[in-house]
Structure formats: C-alpha cells, structure tokens
Symmetry: C2
Subunit: 526 residues, 2 copies
Amino acid sequence: MVSWNNMDSLKSFDELKKTTPVDLAKVMTGENGAERVKKYSVPMAEGMAYNYGAKAVDDTILDKLAAFADEAQLVDKFEELYNGEVINTGEKRLVLHQLCRGQLGNDVVADGVNKRAFYTEQQAKIADFVKKVHAGEIVNEKGEKFTTAVQIGIGGSDLGPRAIYIALENWAKKTGNFKMEAKFISNVDPDDAAAVLNSVDVAHSIFVLVSKSGTTLETLTNESFVKDALKKAGLDASKHMIAVTSETSPLAKSSDYLAAFFMDDYIGGRFSSSSAVGGAILSLAFGPDVFADFLAGAAAEDKLATNKDLKKNPALLDALIGVYERNVLGMGTTAVLPYSQALSRFPAHLQQVDMESNGKSVNRFGEPISYPTGPVIYGEPGTNGQHSFYQLLHQGTDIIPLQFIGFKNSQIGTDVDIQGSTSQQKLCANVAAQIVAFACGKDDENKNKKFEGGRPSSIIVGDQLTPKTMGALLSHFENKVMFQGFAWNINSFDQEGVQLGKVLAKKVLAHDTDGALKVYSDMLNI
Amino acid sequence: MVSWNNMDSLKSFDELKKTTPVDLAKVMTGENGAERVKKYSVPMAEGMAYNYGAKAVDDTILDKLAAFADEAQLVDKFEELYNGEVINTGEKRLVLHQLCRGQLGNDVVADGVNKRAFYTEQQAKIADFVKKVHAGEIVNEKGEKFTTAVQIGIGGSDLGPRAIYIALENWAKKTGNFKMEAKFISNVDPDDAAAVLNSVDVAHSIFVLVSKSGTTLETLTNESFVKDALKKAGLDASKHMIAVTSETSPLAKSSDYLAAFFMDDYIGGRFSSSSAVGGAILSLAFGPDVFADFLAGAAAEDKLATNKDLKKNPALLDALIGVYERNVLGMGTTAVLPYSQALSRFPAHLQQVDMESNGKSVNRFGEPISYPTGPVIYGEPGTNGQHSFYQLLHQGTDIIPLQFIGFKNSQIGTDVDIQGSTSQQKLCANVAAQIVAFACGKDDENKNKKFEGGRPSSIIVGDQLTPKTMGALLSHFENKVMFQGFAWNINSFDQEGVQLGKVLAKKVLAHDTDGALKVYSDMLNI
C-alpha cells in the first residue's frame, strides 16, 4: 500500500532543501562541463535520450531526489495507477490512458470489462472502418470517396490530435502514408467553424464529432453548425459524420452517425490522444498502422517510467528536476522549445496536459497546501523563438527553466547547403549553442551585453520525428506531469477549476445575471 | 528635459507600495461591482474600450499610479520619442515606428531626411507596385498573374505580419478585400520552407524577402532554399522576389529582386508591422487601402497615448496596472486571451513585442536593477483556452493577471441559433462569465470545488475585428510595452540578449568548439 502525504511533510524534501545550489555557469565550463553532459543522459524509447547536463543538479541533489522519489513512493503510485486503483479520487475514477497503448501490469477489469481488451477493440473497430473509407467502401451519398476528415472537438479532443497531426503530416507525405487531409474545428467562435467549412469540400468531407460526455457546449454547437452547412449543401449529415464518445453518452447509439467509437470515463480529455479521440482522426489521416506505431512508441516510453531507478527513468527525472526548480529554486514557469517546425503546436498541447493537471491548490484530500504546484507552460518552435522571446529568457529578471527538443534529421529531407552547412545543421547548431549560452553566459564590460548564465535547460534528442518518437515524446510528458502530481500530492486527473465559468456563462445566456456580470453582458451585447 | 531614474528611486513608487491591496472578490460583488465596471472604463480608438473594472485597483491606487506617471514623466518620454530623441540609447537610435502611421509631434529629420515623408513614400511605392500586381501589369515570366504571396522573414518580420494576416483573412474574404493568399516561411528548419513550397504553386507565387540588415541567417538561408526551388522549377527567381530591407543593406540595390522597399534602423523588428515589413505582404494580400485603414486605426490609438491624464490614456493605464501587479503584487506572468479565433497568433506576436522589449536586467545606462521587469506573456484564444490551461488560472497556486479581448460581432457572420443563442453570443457570454468567475470566485464546502477569486483581469471590447480595430489593438500593446519600459527605466528597443546564441551557433557550424558545446554538437550530429 502506498501512502499519500504532502510534500512538505516528507523528510527527504527537507533534505533536498538543505542541498547547496549548483553554480551552473561554473560546472558547465571546460572539460568538467563536457563530462557532465556525457554523464547526465538517460536513454528514452526509440533511440532518443533525455539529457540533463545543463540542469542545475549534481550527484548530491540527484541522490536527494532519488530519496524523495522513494519516500514519496512515486513509482509505486504509478504502479497502483496502471493496476487499476482509483487514482482520480475527486471523480472516483481509474486512470487508464496508458492502457490504450499497452499492458503495464495486471489485467484491469472495471464495469465487468477487461479495459485493455476494450481499448484494443475500439482501435480495431476504427482500423476496420478507416480501411473501408480509404478503400472507397464507405463513401458519401453519391458513392464518392471522402478526401478530408474534420475533427469537431475542444480541449483534449482538439489540442493533442491536432498537434500530432501537424507533427506527422510532412513525414506522412514524404513516406507515402498520407491518406487524407485533416482539419479541426474547436472554438465556439462561429468564425472558426465557418472558416474551416469554407476551406474544405464538404461533399467529400467526413466529420469526427468528439465529446466524451456528449454534452460539451462548444462541440455540440459546432456539430449543429456543421449539420446546418451540410443541409444547406443538400447533403445528409448522417452520411458524413462519425462520433467518438463514451458508451453511456447520448451520442453513442444515435442514428445521426455513420459509426461510433468509444472511450470511457477512465481516460481524461487531456490524456485521450492515445484513445479513440486521437485514433479516429489520425487513422483517417495517416492510416491505422501509423497510429499503431504511435501507440507502440508511447508504450515503450511508458515502460521506462515503471523503473524504480531514478537515473533510468527519464519521465521521473524530468518531473523531479522540475519539482526541485519549482519548490526549492522558486522558478514559476517552464518553456518548451522544440527545434522542429512540425512540433509547432506541441507546446500548446502540453500547456493543457500540464496546467490543467497540476494547476491545483488543494491536495488529493481537498486540503489546502502551502507550496507552489504546477508551473505555467508555454513555448514556440526554435529557431523562431530565438527571434522573439529568448531575450527575456537570456537577460530577464526571472530565471525560466527550459525544455529543448531536437532531432538529427528533418522529415522531408529537402535541404540546401549554404556557407558549408545545411539548414538542418544550422537548426541543430542553434539548439546546441542556446543550451550553452543559457548555462554558461558570457561576461562583458558593457553590462547590457553581459549574460549571467546559470539558466537551466534539458534536451530530448532523437534521430527523427516519426510516429514512434512522437508517441514516446507524448508519453514522456504525460508521465512527467503524473509524477509531479504525485510529488505534490494533488489529484492531476480532475479539473474542477473549469466549472464555475461554465455555470456563469449559462446564466449570461439565460439573461439571469445581476451586478458586474450584467454590466459585462450588456457591454458585449448579449 | 526628462530625467531617467530607476523606479525604486521615485517617491511615488514608495507611495504606491504603501497602498492597501484591493480585495477584488469583495469589491466586484453586488451593485458595487456593477458600478466599478461601469466606471473603470476608458475609450480607445475605433469605438473600442479598455475596461479595468476587474483589476485589483481602486481610486487611491489609481491616484498613486497617476502620481507615478507624472514623477516618472512617462508621457513626456513618449513625447521625446516621437519628436525624434535618441531613445534607444544602447544602439544610439531614434525610435520611429509610430511615425509610419502618423505625425504625432514635430517633424523628425534624420540623416537629412524627413522620416515621415520617407515612410509614407515607401507605403506609396508599395501601393503602386501592389496595384500593378493585382491588375496583372506585374506578372511572372509567362505573363500570368501572381496568385500567392510568400513572406520570408523571422521574428518581427514574421510574427506581426502573420498574426495580422490571420486576423484579417476572413474579414477580407467576407468583404471582398481578399486579393491573394499569403504564406510565411520563417524557421531555419528545412521542413518549414519545404512544406510551404509544397503547398503553393511556385510559378504563380511572389516572394517577399524581409531582412532589415540583409544578414539574418534564417532569412538568407530560406531565400537560397526558395531560389533553389524556383530554379529547379525552371523559373527565374529575380522575377518572383521583392525585398524589404534598409537602404544600406546588401539587398537594397540588387538585381535579384523585382523591387525593393525600405525601412530603416529606427524601426525595431518587433515594431515593424506598420512599416514596409507589414506593408508589402498585407497590401499584396488585402490591397493597399486595407493596409492604410490598419495604419489609421493605429494612428488614432497612438494619439490617445499622448494624453497626460492617466484615466484617458488606455495604453498608459494598462502599462501602470501591469507595473503595479508586477512590482507591488509580485505577479510574474500575464496571459493574453482573445475571444476571437482570428486573433489566434496575436499572443505569439505580443510575446515578442513584450518579452524582447522588456526582458532586461539592466537599466538604460547599463546598470543592474533590483526590481523585476518584463513578465512572461502567453495566451491562446478563448474559448479554447478554457478547455486547456484555465484550470491553473482559476485554481493554481500563482495568481496570473489576464488580458481579455472580445468583439460583439463575428467577421464572417455565418452563425447558428442553438438553444436560444448564437455561437457569437455563447462566445461573448463565456468571456463575461470568466471575468466574473476569476474576480469573485465561489465558495464551496468541498475545497476542491472552491474558487478563491481575486484573480485580476481587464478586457478590451470592440464591435468587430477590422483593419482599423486591428491597428488600434496593435498600437495599444506596443505603447503599453513602451510605457512599462519607461517605468522600469530600461531600454525597450535593443535586444543584446539574442547575440550570444548567434555567436556560439556560428562556432558550432565552424566546428570551433570544445567542452560542453562540443558534446552537444556531437550529440546532434553536426
């Protein structure tokens, strides 16, 4: 049995606070620095590595972090999770997204069903359906093939699948795996749906309606928006739409859809990319085999997260270094900086995964806690960010931990050699340079040109962004967030903080307001 | 004459620190709250308003802020700026981006040239060129019209123009002002250029190469990338490319371009959207009249920023409330949350405008300062963000000031009425609801469902996102950042923090590395 305790009640956390901070600029200089970078690296799945040479840790701090991981029973808690305990205490639910991609422990049976069998069955159903779409066996009313897939969903039903689609689109085109273009409608802003509909050939589009509960305001509104457009184009909406939902939702058995694929309450929205939520749209776009590879990459990375040896568990290491930065060094934000244009929307997805999971002020028993929890997460791809907000990262008054991601090879492979190097080499040279610039800084008589250094970063390096490495990356960050939630003794799997806004918005629409809310409503002409 | 002093040396700042913080949840409740929201509003240009009812200020704090504005001579400093003083002391340059959109003060003559005349002349040259492109007088080698414009630029030559293009694309299509599709290549990642080139018809594309110095690594690399693709397609690159640069750059008089349009050293990259940097691509996309409207909106908003009465100067108010939050309340990040899908990339642009300008640790004389300066800026459009990171904004351990933006009307006008309200009404109801939820919170016996409230926000409200309101919005934030830089006594117009990374990247590419840098280079196969 594990026990759930606040971080500040643990002896090992006190010990961690007593450690001497590392002078990063000093330890990263010279041959010492080279040795550090070689040593502070841990293999990830699919040939990737998590390198923390430029993080402000040393052997002593790492030992204390390992002791903390043990005392807080972080890997044991993950074990409880994948063996089917009710980890999401707030909503009294199991947490099973990892089970969509592999069996890590015992069989998990809930509601009388083996959940691994259930998730793989849904993937098989999707694969079967998608193959028929691609083969022209499932077609529009005129018997013509569908050419575009449009996801209608918001939050976890949008950000993850969209980020992964963008991440793999060029890879798929290059490798002959591109089956259909995918588009996404998410915002209740009518201009979102209208612009997407104006950009596609609706007669050859298949819409994927995604809502676990079948009650999400934005998604149902956009469904009606799309149905309206289909009707106006003289089309039968039920021949153009599939649903991804839970078996108990009103959408599950409706004749409004060509087919319905299921997830369940044990898959949180922000963790649902590995379920049918990502499975349907990504399989339509790239084929079910590509999606299976994505899941395999994630499963391989999940396995590493079960390792009790901190130095062999990249997600746990990343999590605990983050906790050390947040709760000992007092750093409040983290930037995710992929040197890969294909990962342009991955930071936006991680923003949800991280901030919605760990932006909490009470522990898992609903008691207020007195230490900071989840940081603000943001980021843009490099080298773009270098020409934007890196000024503050280098010379601003706050120190911001950085998470770089880089790949040795591009996806498309078209490149030019200018002044003795390719664009891909220039891209990689820049990320290497940035890590050292942030860590070591540079003195200058002109204080305006001085770099203090001491700004910590880590880098995940891979050969190429592929379905498998994408899966591994996603798993890494999901598991990092999970371990941090365990460390902070919070429930990372509910999101009560989104409720109040929904309640008040309904009041506004019902014109049931007074006070300030009425003034704002009037101001916006509602 | 103005005098430049650190914020913590001003008596009015001491007075500000002595004020009693506002209990936002309390003052925003009931009819008092309604009165506050009505009262704390200031008109902006083009019928917009900046409402700060839900900010943690009261009349006392506002009086102290006004006293601070006076003592720090913030509006006088803006006056010096627009009258042509050398405000960018680090680089010894004037700061003239506002002059691209209007004459606020005296004639500014530099290098023997009236700069207002110079900027308007460039806009006229662009308008003339663009009209010929649209009329089919300037055509490709086969005499065919160009159908697509592709900007090649990074940082300020990308983020602002791209954000504005996305902001106005649907408006232009709806109103018959859409002339050509625009695309953007920025990242040195070869997959960025390759993917854009794969998505356009290069034979009918005109490329806009944007680099003030003519030496930006990414931009010159991508120019070669594009020229290579044009050559492989059997096309003459010089018939497909224009340049936007400074008159002294190597690009200025090259025969490689159909035409060249000029900016100068007095326009910082991140403030260059109003110059030829935004002018060329936006005029190609929407026509020069639309760009002129955009400038007119910005000029009208600039005028408001010259007002010495704090309560009539929205940019100054926004700036000083931000300083109060940062330096008295100790809040380190700010989220920009437009309830408009069209503004999806505006936060990314503001990230550069703000963080590159004010992410500084030395004052304008190069002396270290001892108070926090520019905050981290990030954001995504609502309602998307509500289903992503708002959990942390509502219930996280850090309080994060919020900047909402909302419009009464959509751009396209296509909408559906579901359950008694349109999508546009739902969108607006959500932003109204969020403001009150953040400010007032809600008690609950279950502490996990309790909202503390006291989370400050402001909202900019307009009728519709149009070229004029877009211009006004841009001006508002540019001027806010300028005033904050003045308040912190830093130079908001240089960016020495981006240099070290460039130097080290060159070393990596020259294989002139040792220590940690060599290990990272090897790791990335450079």
